[in-house]
Symmetry: C2
Subunit: 190 residues, 2 copies
């Protein structure tokens, strides 16, 4: 991974990939898989939605820090495994053999292996959206991306790095791979 300028980090989430959110509360690391994320601002700010049914939500409310990592196609089986058990009764890092590094600013547990990028985040105090919509607003304090798939401030999906492309949840356990980079042709006025 290579450290990323914070002003480029919004691009990581903009295409809508599945993400892994790692937390730590009372000394216990946990990780959840979610798809409900959004860029809020270029600065960068993000929103993500989870909820009280999710064991990580209590850790988020308590510690107000997390890392959002972006897993690749290579990590799909683990991503789904993480999403189908609970931190309530499972140490997911042990169960799936995941190494937890420490975020550089806040020290939040961080997953690099099998991921294309990560952002260490601090929650913004917006209790109404948390309480009414289970939605957290977060500011990024550090970010990094794998130069093999993210270069010059944007995703660089090519045929020769397909295993590093992002996952997009289509419903019912089906995922699409983001691929086939295309650009628009300028239109003449009708």
């Amino acid at each position: 991974m290579r450290q990323l300028k914070l002003s480029k980090a919004f691009t990581l989430i903009e295409p809508g990939p599945v993400v892994l959110v790692t937390t730590c509360a009372a000394g216990r690391a946990n990780v959840m898989t979610i798809s409900w994320t959004m860029v809020l601002d270029f600065t960068p700010l993000f929103a993500f939605t989870t909820g009280p049914w999710n064991h990580s939500f209590a850790a988020l409310e308590q510690q107000r820090e997390c890392v959002i990592a972006i897993p690749t196609v290579d990590l799909l089986d683990t991503v789904v495994g993480i999403g189908t058990c609970s931190g309530r009764d499972t140490d997911k890092f042990a169960r799936f053999g995941i190494a937890a590094l420490a975020g550089p600013v806040l020290g939040v547990p961080l997953i690099e292996a099998g991921c294309a990028a990560w952002m260490e985040c601090r929650l913004i105090p917006e209790r109404h959206t948390e309480d009414a919509y289970d939605t957290c607003f977060a500011e990024v304090v550090a970010a990094a991306a794998d130069p093999a798939v993210f270069a010059d401030g944007r995703w660089d999906f090519r045929a020769d790095n397909a295993a590093l492309h992002t996952l997009h949840h289509l419903g019912a356990g089906n995922f699409a791979r983001a691929s086939d980079v295309i650009r628009a042709q300028p239109l003449q006025a009708a």
Copy 2:
């Protein structure tokens, strides 16, 4: 397009596609291209972020209704064209030769040609997120999808319907196509 059960509509946005948001205020239709969207709840509720720099924002604040349509690869040139001019001085429907239908519940202008699905929406009164983050929360009141690419309540991306796949913004005018449907293999505990 075929009418979609509202309980399935969250799946349309979950993979993070680029969307077109149509509005109407003072009898004038407009449309903008955005990527910053999120599912808020299965019911379905959505969030999307725009801002006062955007001409559509004033129409949203005034009328509090919109249609979120999901364009396909086929519409890429128009999608980028819409995103690079302003409704302030341009009738985008005329300029890009777009037909505007009327949404079935609210009558909001609606784009079907070149789109895979649409959702007619009413804004939820959450003025703080609008004012502080340029973020609107919306509930869906009607939805439809093209059965050629959305079937059994989920996206059905295949090699033979690639022109109907969704667009995902990678930055700097580059887009990925969501493709290659994959499923996870169950993991054994480590």
